[in-house]
Symmetry: C2
Subunit: 348 residues, 2 copies
């Protein structure tokens, strides 16, 4: 299989997208890989798999690579006499944060008719915005962690009891996130979060809550990953974050009662189908008593959460053969023909 | 002002977008207009304002016009030695339905850094999907018409009393909409709606309910249109629909109590700000007793609801000078530099 990997872009998570992309080279050993880098100015570059490493980007050397243009059917290298398509079977959107998770990349792929793996447009907007995720989950009967929404212009009136966790509504990877233990820490934490977004969400910080991650997808059948209990740290420093986005070896299943395991799996399926068809997502759940609460949806998890699956490459292959199809719309100008033949509509 | 108008695209409302675009030529008399047509295969064509008429499209003659490519900063004509930008001050997204209202066009404009008038990405997804519109409105305290959601695979179990109105979740312009008076009509109406969408919404059909349309926007200040009481017809045939998308003369204000007028205006403002900044939308409200209920948001109303404003061209000009700005993200590779200088990360 020839796989194109899109990464980078104008996002706070630009750099960890590079880490994710480089990790895929270690994970996808049987496939032929083509890397398409989007720089901060949103120009596309074709990166040879053999040359990819982080310095290529941090040094600006990527600018010597071939530039690409997006046109119907794919990415093209520009040549004076006839542009040439970058041939590929499937394109993976591996852009974390803005441009990748917010729906822009899904829009581009759908508009230009490029088969791709990633949440579609609606799914992107719903999962990128933590407020919309809550509304969506509640509307389909999935419980969520209690929350309060605050806009930049709102009065800073806290309705929850301390400690709380403050998150920008539209970012991932813990960017702009703070745990606030009492009132004295509130203003600074809000200032930090509002640096990144005009909307923030406040949730109770439940110390020691059981957290479980479930990744999965639906190809011709359900492919659910093992459930992981992630290591708990109040803050991830850059090395830990790097580890998180460059993981490539399978982890061990969390030890869970069969009942909770099934509850987590069923909740995942409820959230995924049909909104997230075509994508591999990771849902992070809290378990309180015997209740499963959605904490967050990771629409494009670091290194695609490959480490949670047994045979990731095989799963990718099957997903790429079972992508949701866009509805075919016939445009036959019947309506305009009718108007044209109606009286007095000559000005059309 | 030089205005580019985007219209057409792969949408059930492709043809009425053509009608809307041609109408803008009559409305925007002081501006220089450039028309950019997107055909059903999603190729871009530059249409000279002097040659635009409906036959150009229904006959396929538009294919002789110059093809355009979207690149950073704008649309370009392809030339062997250096592509040339189509110069413009502002681009108006006048694509009704899919591609235009669903968020794809907003994504393209944002990604390629083109100043544009239309709902942004999130606003598009929220208003294009009638279910999400309900969730959003309720979350900010705006009352909506009662509803039931049904997916194609769901059991056809009606929870509301007849008569009801059935609508595909993602379409406008009354496409696929039926009024169902009793059980005998239900299956056929559902079949029709599911022809167009996998999700439908069922609402009580309130015969004789007072309906009011309010258009508006926020530039440097609020610009609210007059409130119209639209003419009621159970079904709009093609001539009526045509009239609706080609209206270019100001209508008369509805006669309303001051109290209800202010309620409608305030509800509009609540819905619009900040989600819909950068766009001109029309909200359709029902008034039951003294309660104002949101019926629908028209993110890209026919001919931009110009007929509801006193000086539409002036308003457009002010809006184009007060567009929401994208957040600037600095990418400095600090994180990658740190990893590179950390021990044992040489494989990055």
């Amino acid at each position: 299989m020839n796989i194109s990997i899109l990464f980078g872009a104008s996002s706070y998570e630009h750099e960890i997208s590079i880490v994710s992309a480089i990790t895929m080279k270690k994970v996808l050993k049987k496939s032929e890989l083509t890397f398409i880098f989007i720089d901060k100015d949103r120009e596309f570059y074709l990166i040879e798999s053999s040359t990819i490493n982080s310095k290529l980007f941090s040094s600006g050397q990527y600018k010597k690579c071939k530039k690409l243009t997006l046109k119907q059917g794919g990415f093209f290298t520009n040549r004076i006499f006839g542009d040439k398509i970058v041939s590929t079977d499937i394109t993976i959107n591996l852009i974390h944060g803005r441009d990748g998770e917010d729906g822009k990349m899904a829009s581009l792929m759908e508009f230009y008719n490029i088969p791709f793996i990633s949440p579609r447009l609606e799914a992107s907007v719903i999962s990128y915005n933590k407020l919309y995720t809550k509304l969506f989950a509640q509307s389909i009967g999935v419980s969520v962690v209690e929350y309060q929404h605050l806009s930049k212009s709102d009065e800073r009136l806290l309705k929850l009891s301390y400690p709380v966790i403050i998150k920008p509504v539209r970012l991932g990877s813990s960017i702009g996130v703070s745990i606030v233990k009492d009132k004295s820490e509130l203003d600074y934490a809000l200032d930090v979060a509002f640096e990144f977004d005009n909307d923030i969400i406040i949730e109770p910080f439940i110390d020691g809550v059981k957290e479980y991650n479930q990744a999965g997808l639906k190809s011709d059948e359900w492919e659910l990953s093992i459930i992981e209990e992630p290591q708990k740290e109040e803050f991830l420093d850059f090395e830990k974050k790097y580890m998180d986005f460059s993981r490539d070896s399978t982890v061990i299943s969390a030890s869970l009662s069969k009942e909770i395991e099934v509850k987590i799996q069923n909740t995942f399926k409820k959230l995924y189908d049909p909104l997230f068809l075509g994508s591999i997502i990771r849902c992070d759940f809290f378990v309180v008593g015997d209740e499963v609460l959605l904490n967050e949806i990771n629409p494009i998890p670091g290194s695609m959460a490959n480490y949670l699956f047994k045979d990731f490459e095989d799963i990718l292959d099957r997903l790429s053969k079972n992508l949701p199809k866009e509805r075919n719309i016939v445009i036959d100008y019947q309506y305009i023909h009718s108007i044209q033949s109606a009286k007095g509509k000559s000005n059309l």
